[in-house]
Symmetry: C2
């Protein structure tokens, strides 16, 4: 984790927007679904302030689509989603935790119902395609599992809507939250959803043709000036403030949706049958032994973590921090932490060992009140 | 692909050797199985010359183990491996292409038979665990699919054996190629295999306990001086010379083992039934339409590629380059290329468009004669 750069490799796949993104001066990358994802442009804090005020254009092609298509597509989508997709309707997006037989999280995609026999799972950082394809093979389902040439481009921030209206017309305003509509660009139909990995409002454009990437980027940035548009990316500070979890950071196969407080996205009391449901019901009956909570930490500004920070209270292990950042608007260090339930009440005081020292912290709800 | 560094994230998991590796001055990283993997220390060429002459210690923890354990472990291993594992014996390693129902490659792990009911698939860069777990779920198999706390540490280079004898004793010499034996270190049993991702000879130590990482590293480096031991990593130049393919670079789900010339690792004429066999048999009957070959390219020294370079011949598309490097020992640019069969004969002349210009190239066999 020194400052060493990323070595070129075809294995880290370019996106349709790579050329434009690199021109914009990325200062830090991560790798996500075998692709490069910008993490910071000017600085975490500068990007953060800008995102909360203006509009940003984000290359989130790393949100790959796992496409299920064919007679058994709906059956497979329903089986692998803890969210009830039984009555999924075209034009809607569903935050859909996917768990294994023990309830351990494998991914937390947004499922898009493209057609009754066609679904896209817009994924977080794991090869969910392998899980879907393995299930299809094992259950002998008649469904094609593939990764189509679809790359989301997000426009986020309070000015995102006015900007996209300039490019795609007034109908943009009619898209409701977590719904999508089809818009034409250069003769190609593209799904545009009101969604995105920030709490500042915005849209995700599902570009279905790599060759049009630069043209789409340029068509949007050409209208950007009145909205102070800049290239950006998911922002660590903003997403912690807003209570957005990151698969691989805040949750792994070792955590269940109930421990993550994602109960409302899991069908537990309906007839919907899916993999892992029994395990989740059992855990609900027994009660979770730990849960994710917010923390407000004192001390110097923390830097992003690369390994979980241990949390203790009066000599007992209380859990660990999964993500942390200094929030300029809250003027405090804020964090997500997986806490043993006996230490998870709001107001509980805890001690954290970070890379820069020892912090006192207080437990609070997620999202943070910003 | 600018020189921007990797931004810290828990999602990019540390290894048991991260602390030591970063002390050694890595100058380029890649990300592999959600972990950091060094790509270069001093320079590609300096690392290369050193690897071919002395001994290197490599943190290859990214070769995660997909563990299959339980009554149906052998059944699942056999079903998902194109290599015949029907008669797999404890203590042996098997290069085992894993393909989907259409014969497309999902990974090319080394399978270790730990016990008759316990296998490790030491994987390339994709979440093979999800495929195995999906199959187990779909077929209703009685097998636990997990990623244990096992992190390979490789010692590679012509002096690797003499070095490891100093640490583990003379019995190291008795390990045959692609076999492993158990050795004790600090009271813990560790599998040591004669294997590794170079053609310079060497071993892989499967560290089964993260906490012992630094001690193991230090115990080996303490004996390193007579062998001019340095920290290293899989070397792009050396692996191309030696004909070692990289999943994600040279092959993806779009390629089959037959197109990769991996026929001898696929059971095609035995009774062994596995996923994708029918597709591979069909492709063998019809004949492959493209195949991987070596290229020797003229012109200036090439840099590592990040997108495939297109290949043409007399105005026809002939295929694409998947990996390339300048070989100091061969004093030429060498490459792997996926070629349409009509352009794949040895001696065929081709034209390549690389990032630095146009090259003339000649087709040859893999591995290169070094």
């Amino acid at each position: 984790m020194s400052g060493a750069p990323i070595f070129p490799s075809r294995r880290l796949r370019p996106s349709p927007f790579t050329e434009r993104v690199s021109q914009e001066g990325v200062s830090g990358y991560t790798v996500y679904n075998h692709m490069l994802l910008p993490s910071v442009f000017r600085s975490l804090e500068e990007d953060y302030h800008h995102l909360k005020k203006y509009a940003q254009i984000w290359d989130v092609s790393v949100e790959r689509q796992v496409q299920l298509e064919g007679p058994d597509a709906h059956k497979l989508a329903t089986l692998m989603s803890a969210r009830d997709l039984s009555n999924a309707e075209p034009g809607r997006c569903y935050y859909a935790p996917v768990v294994d037989g023990k309830g351990g999280m494998l991914n937390d995609p947004v499922a898009l119902c493209i057609a009754p026999d066609k679904f896209w799972f817009s994924i977080a950082d794991s090869d969910l395609l392998f899980w879907a394809a393995g299930l299809a093979e094992g259950y002998g389902m008649d469904v094609e599992v593939s990764e189509p040439d679809v790359s989301p481009l997000a426009i986020q921030g309070p000015m995102a809507e006015d900007l996209l209206v300039k490019v795609f017309g007034e109908d943009i305003r009619s898209i409701r939250f977590f719904r999508f509509k089809w818009f034409e660009f250069k003769g190609v139909q593209m799904a545009i959803a009101r969604s995105g990995w920030s709490k500042q409002g915005g849209f995700e454009i599902y570009l279905p043709d790599t060759k049009l990437g630069t043209e789409l980027w340029d068509a949007i940035t050409a209208e950007g000036e009145p909205f102070n548009l800049r290239a950006g990316c998911p922002n660590l500070i903003e997403r912690i403030e807003g209570g957005l979890f990151s698969f691989g950071n805040d949750m792994t196969r070792s955590e269940t949706p109930l421990e993550m407080g994602l109960d409302k996205y899991c069908s537990l009391d309906s007839d919907h049958q899916y993999i892992g449901k029994d395990a989740l019901l059992r855990q609900r009956d027994e009660g979770v032994k730990r849960k994710i909570k917010g923390l407000i930490m004192d001390g110097e500004k923390v830097s992003p973590l690369s390994i979980p920070w241990q949390i203790s209270e009066a000599g007992h292990n209380a859990g660990f921090v999964t993500s942390a950042a200094y929030s300029p608007d809250m003027q405090a260090n804020i964090a997500f932490a997986m806490l043993n339930t006996e230490f998870s009440e709001n107001g509980q005081e805890l001690t954290i060992q970070s890379t820069i020292g020892t912090h006192k912290a207080v437990v609070c709800d997620i999202p943070f009140a910003v």
